[in-house]
């Protein structure tokens, strides 16, 4: 059984979370500390490839059957569906324009890979196993929310101005974006080579993983603080949305996870995915497809509000609740 308090405190005392807090404090006090962008990108490539490989190798051990299908379908459905809920809430509770609300909602249907990775680390720390194919869910959930978001945005546009929904560069951005390639590609590599093949690269991809995550979260703390400082378009209502929307997403995720028969660990991860908001793939797609939507709203909200909330409070909270329900 997971104890919510001890889970939260072990979370708070892990080097990764403390590194995030350090970065956030440094950013908040306007330290000149800065992780070069090339390093940030390099670390994120590493993390995505490594988590993919780990999942693939573990799938090679556990084998794969048709029983993973319900989970994968659930992931896609959730990504399509959650933006509808988010959009409804935003139109009800805030004054965002249609296009801004649609853009924000797409972010909440999609996922934050770093939040997910932090959650897997949390589960490893407290010795809770999870299904390998959850990693495939991450890749599957990135994109559908974008489609829902764009369709919601069209409600605000006169019908004759509606061009084709997707331009070629957007399609590429959506289906072949770096994260998906690395996650699924790493997954395939891990699966093809199996745990034996992974052994040769594990001193690079497995052993230092948590340390790399630590460095990466330091930078995420800096970035989140900077984004929040620079955010001028965030109203109180919107900030509140960034705090309660993860909880709502979490409820859908937990329900779906239990429904399709995921383990406790797998359900926690699906919950985290639903609770998290994208800040890499979706913003880029939104700039191309909805230039009118203000990036000064959706990026600080997802990166500066929801991301810290999930990493600091959300993950242990979801874990404890799901554990309480199941046991």
């Amino acid at each position: 059984m997971i104890d919510v308090l001890s889970a939260a405190s072990s979370n708070f005392l892990s080097p990764t979370i403390l590194a995030f807090v350090l970065g956030a404090l440094a950013g908040f006090f306007r330290s000149d500390l800065e992780v070069p962008e090339a390093i940030t990108k390099g670390l994120s490539i590493y993390l995505m490839l490594a988590i993919g490989m780990k999942g693939g190798a573990s799938l090679a051990t556990s084998g794969v059957g048709l029983d993973v299908l319900p989970g994968l379908v659930a992931a896609i459905v959730l990504s399509f569906f959650i933006p509808l809920v988010a959009y409804g809430l935003l139109k009800f509770a805030t004054r965002l324009s249609t296009v801004d609300a649609a853009a924000v909602s797409a972010h909440y249907g999609s996922v934050s890979i770093v939040t997910f990775v932090t959650a897997t680390q949390f589960l490893t720390d407290i010795d809770v196993p999870y299904e390998a194919h959850v990693i495939a869910m991450v890749a599957l959930m990135e994109t559908p929310a974008i489609i829902t978001g764009l369709m919601l945005a069209r409600r605000g546009v006169a019908s004759r101005a509606k061009g084709s929904l997707f331009t070629p560069d957007m399609v590429r951005e959506i289906f072949f974006n770096g994260s998906i390639v690395l996650l699924l590609g790493g997954f395939a590599i891990g699966w093809a080579t199996g745990p034996d093949g992974m052994k040769s690269v594990s001193p690079f991809f497995i052993d230092p993983f948590q340390g790399v995550l630590c460095l990466f979260l330091l930078d995420m703390g800096l970035v989140a603080a900077h984004r929040l400082r620079a955010a001028q378009s965030l109203t109180l209502g919107v900030v509140a949305f960034g705090l309660y929307m993860p909880l709502i997403g979490a409820v859908f995720g937990a329900a779906a996870g239990l429904l399709v028969g995921l383990s406790v660990g797998g359900t926690i991860l699906l919950t985290v995915l639903c609770a998290s908001a994208s800040y890499i793939a979706v913003p880029a797609a939104m700039r191309l497809a909805l230039p009118k939507a203000d990036p000064g709203i959706y990026i600080p909200l997802s990166l500066g509000v929801t991301f810290p909330f999930n990493v600091l409070i959300g993950i242990p909270l979801y874990a404890a609740c799901i554990d309480a329900i199941v046991n």
């Binding site: 962008e37 940030t40 990108k41 994120s44 560069d169 800096l222 970035v223 900077h226 984004r227 620079a230 001028q232 800040y279 890499i280 793939a281 913003p283 880029a284 939104m286 700039r287 191309l288 230039p291 009118k292 990036p295 000064g296 990026i299 990166l303």
Partner: protein
């Protein structure tokens, strides 16, 4: 020396390809790109942090013949649409006229 026009565009990075296409279609024979720029304007500080490219600017530079300069400007302007960016033009002298 021959008089040409230099067109410079500072635009959010995700729109760079559209600007390039627009310029080339209007007859620009070449261009240069400064891939990372920070900036500030009506849309607030833009500094490429946060991995998404959504806060990155790039600078597009093209030397074009006077005869097509207005077309190139118009085309780029249309391509940018509501994206974040600015465009300006100035006079330059070149040695090899046929290159541009």
């Amino acid at each position: 020396m021959f008089q040409k026009k230099k067109i410079e565009v500072v635009v959010e990075a995700v729109y760079l390809n559209r600007v390039i296409d627009a310029a080339v279609k209007a007859g620009a024979k070449g261009y240069s790109v400064i891939p990372h720029l920070t900036g500030n304007g009506q849309h607030g500080v833009r500094q490429g942090r946060g991995l998404s490219g959504a806060f990155e600017n790039a600078m597009f530079i093209s030397i074009v013949d006077k005869a097509i300069a207005d077309d190139v400007v118009k085309n780029i302007h249309a391509a940018i649409g509501e994206a974040i960016g600015i465009l300006y033009m100035s006079d330059v002298d070149v040695i090899r006229s046929e290159h541009f």
